[in-house]
């Protein structure tokens, strides 16, 4: 298996992990709505994952950039920009005092990210298979 194949195998795995992170976020938000968890615990729990998620995604994007996968890079660049913007504005962390006011926004964001990771998952998978086929030829 060549470089491209390995890269996309890695991307597939990363996308799967990010996908699960988002599913976890969404489950936690609905737990909050059903009073299964209090806002303080929720924020403490989720805030542990916010930066790792963003770093993992940024790292993946960087890999695409370095290996010259322009399409994949362009696909991911807007989200990186969005995340960086959030960190710069210092509102990337969940705030327990505001969580109920901003909950609908957080949920919407998580769903959009979920969809995005799902699409990228299949795209990476497709590219991986494509790379494997072209190698075997």
């Amino acid at each position: 298996m060549g470089g491209e194949g390995w890269l996309f195998l890695f991307a597939v795995l990363m996308a799967a992990v990010l996908l699960f992170t988002m599913v976890f976020f969404i489950i936690m938000f609905s737990d909050l709505e059903c009073d299964y968890i209090n806002p303080i615990d929720l924020c403490n729990k989720l805030n542990q994952f916010v930066l790792p998620e963003m770093i993992a995604h940024a790292f993946l994007t960087l890999c695409f950039l370095l290996s010259g996968q322009w399409l994949a890079f362009l696909l991911n660049a807007p989200l990186v920009g969005y995340n960086v913007n959030k960190i710069m504005a210092k509102n990337h962390m969940y705030d327990a005092t505001e969580i109920f006011r901003t909950l609908s926004g957080h949920k919407k964001e998580s769903f959009i990210k979920l969809g995005f990771y799902l699409v990228s998952f299949f795209y990476y998978l497709y590219r991986m298979i494509l790379a494997l086929i072209s190698e075997s030829d």
């Binding site: 909050l32 709505e33 009073d35 209090n38 806002p39 303080i40 705030d95 327990a96 005092t97 969580i99 109920f100 006011r101």
Partner: protein
């Protein structure tokens, strides 16, 4: 049963045990029916009243049918809070405007005092104020303001309606099976001076269906000062609510102060026998709106409909061991009641009240005299601090560049000081004697307070480790909970939560200004969450001579249910400053505290609480956590309709569970019932302008922090014009542009309040407002109860030199008479006059520069205007009637406002001190100010928006 009270003469209600419902029997004929009778059976004493249709027994639920009978007019015809003739909105389909009205339409103006008897349908009416009939006056079927007179010759009904009004229409006026409706009257605002006396008018009445309550008590609805709703009718669907653009929110001050002598109200009745009947499913408390079924053995919950058992001791007087009258129970007769909770409501044994004082003792704090006044006030308040059973605990921590703890052993007469200079990893220097029992350690505490200021007199330290001090206090009292009272005169610059002076003047007036209204450091939010978890509340007393970052420091009180107090430019050598602070601080210390409280609002199924505004931490979707319940704080709770509402009325119930400072677990319950409606015009007729203004205030402040101040102001104006556009198009059915601005009579002051709100210091446009003052104004806007918030937005303005003879004196009923309130415009200021402007935080005495020496002598004891000094002052009490009357008015205005605040009196000379002068003038909100529009211009802006351009 008590329903009989409401039956018309000649009828009798009999319980039908087979169908579990009342059957109504006409005594003279023996005829029976299921419907609640609306007409007296003896017939013709009032010939104009035609019998309501009374279909035979076909319904099991009484009193749900609605008829546009004359009875409606009779009950409500003269208008509850208005003497205008009835403009009744007949029932019908969604539009609710039957055709027979079409021929009877008239201009929507009424001449005041135009009696019902004279108001023949055909008689054209004169427009009141001599204006052109508006363009929509002649459009077909304007549904408002019509004189519906289906029964010519009807007698004037005002008198009777007024009687009903006095009886508090809360329980629906008694007789009448038809549904009552609010009269809708359109008022045109453009070109008119607003009638500011209407700001104290009560909200539109709750027109409940008859027999909604099981008792006929006049107290089944809460006083508006406890709880009011933006609408006094509940829309049946969310889409109707969305379409109407009216906000739906509860405005409440459930733990408001009780001031019998000022308000003339009764204390909250207490249910002492620990019999607490609650619904098994929704946990609602029993209230006047439940129904008793199965011969009174069970009660049906008015919120979820579940049938519950009536507790065995419900009808038993435990004190005297004899049967008791169920209908006399307080929870069935009062909207606001307090239950003494049995032990299962306790999470832990009741904790004692705990006070931890964190006092800034840096050089600036000592020099301003803050420490001395604070220590003296605490010393003088030691007897007033809630300490009924000698359990109260106290700790004192002094903070500068290091933390100073005081060991106050029970047997010692002197305190010993322990200094900790490690600010990053705060630890307590001693495990005991730092938090001590107030009674046992009183000698040591008194000796410490007596010399606290002198101890630090010579230290000259610059710097303030407030954050670390707060952490230490939290460690000290965290296990018990209680209150931290922080007093600081400087910006915290050291240790945890250190802040920087970020008040860059270049930001002011720009869109970035809102960043200055948000917290600069996350420490105060995180710490607030820690405090809330451990039932610790924080009160902040800030004394600034320079920037102290009120926006950041006020986070702590906001999320721990405390309060922020700001004393700009505090200097204790000015006696006014010292008295104001000492009075307010003393009141805070002696305030009864409800500890470890939670607030939950329950409502009829279908209604959901969607957002919360106020000082608390939201612990779950419907639970507000308050470590300490402060008195006189306001909360706004937005409501949404998840499902369509079926019943004829809904019930909203607020419950506050708290531990009193004497160790009792208590539940204060406020129940409110509202009729439902599916008509937009009825929603408009039931809108409460004060509650809506309070809601808009909270929304605007929230918006100014999340977006920008500009956005916040636009939100207010947009909300207002959206509402009025819907009113114009849907209720008055006039289309196209109009030269007038039509508002319903009950919302006629809302545009004025909105105009005043966007010009308020907390939201005002401009680059000259210090961020601290703005942030503090926003704290007040979101916490003041309505009775103080309305004057805070729209100040009171009195003319004193020519006030009526009874003003400033006590009248026959023992009440102090205030002069008539004036419109807030400088046109009213006269060069030779004496005026008073009051906004619940400050009192301005405006002296015209041509004031005659006699006036100056009488009020200020000086020879002439030239000798008078402007600025903060105290009015002398002189030996002449006029001086006493002016002092009486000042004292009365101070007394009227809820809360601990003691307004400063500023003497404003009309030709000197431009800063003070323009501050006073900025309160005259009907005037144009810099580039902020006048009231008339604001109305034009709103009108243009309503017209769609």
């Amino acid at each position: 049963m008590s329903q009989e009270v409401m039956l018309p003469q000649g009828w009798e209600a009999r319980w039908d045990s087979q169908s579990n419902a009342y059957v109504y029997v006409e005594q003279s004929t023996g005829r029976s029916q299921w419907e609640v009778p609306t007409q007296p059976s003896y017939g013709s004493s009032n010939p104009s009243v035609s019998p309501a249709p009374q279909p035979a027994a076909s319904h099991h639920r009484p009193g749900r049918r609605q008829y546009p009978t004359a009875q409606i007019q009779q009950v409500y015809g003269g208008g509850g809070y208005d003497t205008q003739p009835q403009a009744q909105q007949p029932m019908g389909g969604a539009s609710g405007y039957p055709d027979h009205n079409a021929q009877q339409q008239q201009p929507q103006y009424f001449t005041p005092g135009f009696g019902g008897a004279d108001a023949q349908p055909q008689q054209p009416q004169q427009p009141a104020y001599g204006q052109q009939p508006p363009s929509y006056g002649g459009t077909p079927a304007p549904p408002y303001g019509q004189q519906q007179q289906p029964y010519p010759g009807q007698q004037p009904v005002d008198q009777m309606a007024n009687q009903f009004q006095q009886m508090n229409v809360g329980y629906g006026g008694g007789a009448g099976g038809g549904k009552q409706l609010h009269q809708i009257q359109t008022v045109n605002l453009i070109g008119m001076q607003p009638d500011v006396t209407g700001l104290v008018a009560p909200p539109p009445p709750y027109l409940l269906p008859p027999n909604a309550a099981v008792t006929a008590s006049p107290h089944i609805q809460p006083d508006p000062s406890y709880q009011r709703c933006t609408l006094t009718s509940m829309p049946t669907t969310q889409s109707l609510l969305n379409k109407s653009k009216l906000p739906l929110a509860l405005v409440m001050a459930p733990y408001r102060s009780f001031r019998g002598e000022v308000d003339g109200d009764d204390p909250v009745p207490v249910v002492e026998d620990s019999v607490i009947a609650r619904c098994r499913r929704c946990r609602a408390y029993i209230n006047p709106f439940v129904t008793f079924i199965e011969g009174g053995n069970r009660w049906k919950c008015c919120m979820c409909g579940l049938s519950n058992e009536v507790p065995q001791l419900f009808d038993w007087n435990q004190a005297e061991n004899k049967p008791a009258d169920r209908w006399a129970r307080k929870e069935l007769n009062h909207s606001v009641v307090e239950f003494i909770a049995p032990t299962e409501y306790m999470v832990r044994p009741p904790q004692p009240p705990v006070y931890a004082f964190v006092i800034d003792v840096s050089q600036q704090a000592i020099q301003s005299g803050m420490v001395a006044v604070a220590a003296r006030t605490i010393l003088e308040s030691l007897d007033n601090i809630p300490n009924a059973d000698n359990r109260t605990k106290v700790a004192i921590i002094a903070v500068s560049t290091s933390l100073h703890f005081f060991s106050l052993p029970a047997d010692a007469t002197e305190a010993s000081m322990l200094v900790v200079s490690d600010l990053t990893d705060v630890f307590l220097p001693k495990p005991v004697d730092l938090l001590v029992n107030l009674t046992e350690s009183r000698p040591a505490i008194e000796s410490l307070l007596g010399k606290l200021s002198d101890m630090f007199q010579d230290s000259h330290t610059v710097g303030n480790a407030l954050g670390s001090g707060l952490q230490a206090a939290h460690q000290l009292i965290g296990k018990i909970g209680g209150k931290i009272i922080a007093l600081t005169a400087t910006l915290p610059t050291l240790g945890e939560g250190a802040l920087k002076a970020r008040d860059d003047p270049k930001l002011l007036g720009t869109s970035k200004e809102s960043s200055l209204l948000n917290a600069a450091s996350s420490f105060y939010k995180t710490f607030a969450i820690e405090c809330s978890k451990q039932q610790v509340a924080v009160d902040m007393f800030l004394f600034s001579t320079s920037y102290t970052d009120v926006a950041t420091l006020s986070c702590l009180p906001r999320y721990t249910a405390g309060q922020t107090y700001l004393y700009p430019g505090f200097n204790a050598s000015r006696s006014e400053d010292a008295i104001k602070f000492a009075t307010e601080f003393g009141k805070v210390l002696s305030m009864p505290m409800g500890l470890e409280a939670v607030i939950r609002v329950r409502a009829t199924r279908g209604i959901r609480m969607s957002a919360f505004h106020g000082n608390f931490f939201i612990r779950s979707t419907d639970l507000l956590a308050l470590p300490v319940v402060p008195t006189d704080q306001n909360y706004v709770i937005e409501l949404q309709l998840e499902d369509d509402i079926k019943g004829s009325f809904v019930v909203l119930q607020t419950a506050i569970l708290h531990t009193t400072c004497y160790g009792e677990r208590r539940i204060r319950v406020i129940t409110q019932a509202m009729p439902t409606t599916d008509s937009i015009s009825e929603l408009y007729g039931s809108a409460d302008q004060i509650a809506i203004a309070t809601y808009l205030t909270n929304k605007a402040v929230e918006r100014s922090m999340s977006h920008s101040l500009d956005d916040a102001r636009n939100t207010v104006t947009k909300n207002l014009s959206d509402m009025l556009a819907v009113y114009k198009n849907q209720v008055t059915s006039s289309s196209g542009a109009s030269a007038q601005l039509a508002v319903p009579e009950n919302l006629k002051l809302l545009p004025l309040l909105c105009c005043a709100l966007v010009k308020h210091v907390g939201l005002r446009e401009g680059a000259s407002i210090p961020p601290d003052l703005r942030a503090y104004a926003q704290c007040l806007l979101t916490t003041l109860p309505c009775q103080s918030l309305v004057p805070y937005i729209h100040p009171r303005f009195y003319s004193l030199h020519n006030m009526p003879n009874d003003a400033g004196n006590i009248n026959e009923t023992g009440q102090m008479v205030l002069p008539p309130a004036l419109n807030l415009t400088s046109e009213r200021l006269e060069r030779h006059g004496l005026f008073l402007i009051e906004d619940s935080q400050n009192i301005f005495i405006w002296v015209g520069h041509e004031a005659v020496p006699r006036l100056i002598q009488d009020v200020f004891g000086l020879n002439n205007y030239g000798e008078l000094q402007g600025g903060k002052s105290t009015l002398p009490i002189l030996d002449n009637p006029f001086s006493q009357r002016v002092n009486n008015i000042v004292n009365k205005t101070r007394e009227l406002r809820r809360g601990v605040y003691r307004p400063h009196v500023y003497v404003v000379k009309s030709d000197a001190e431009p800063a003070l002068r323009s501050w006073a003038l900025s309160l005259l909100v009907e005037d144009r100010m810099d580039h902020m529009s006048s009231y008339a211009q604001y109305l034009t802006t709103v009108k243009n928006k309503v017209n769609g351009n």
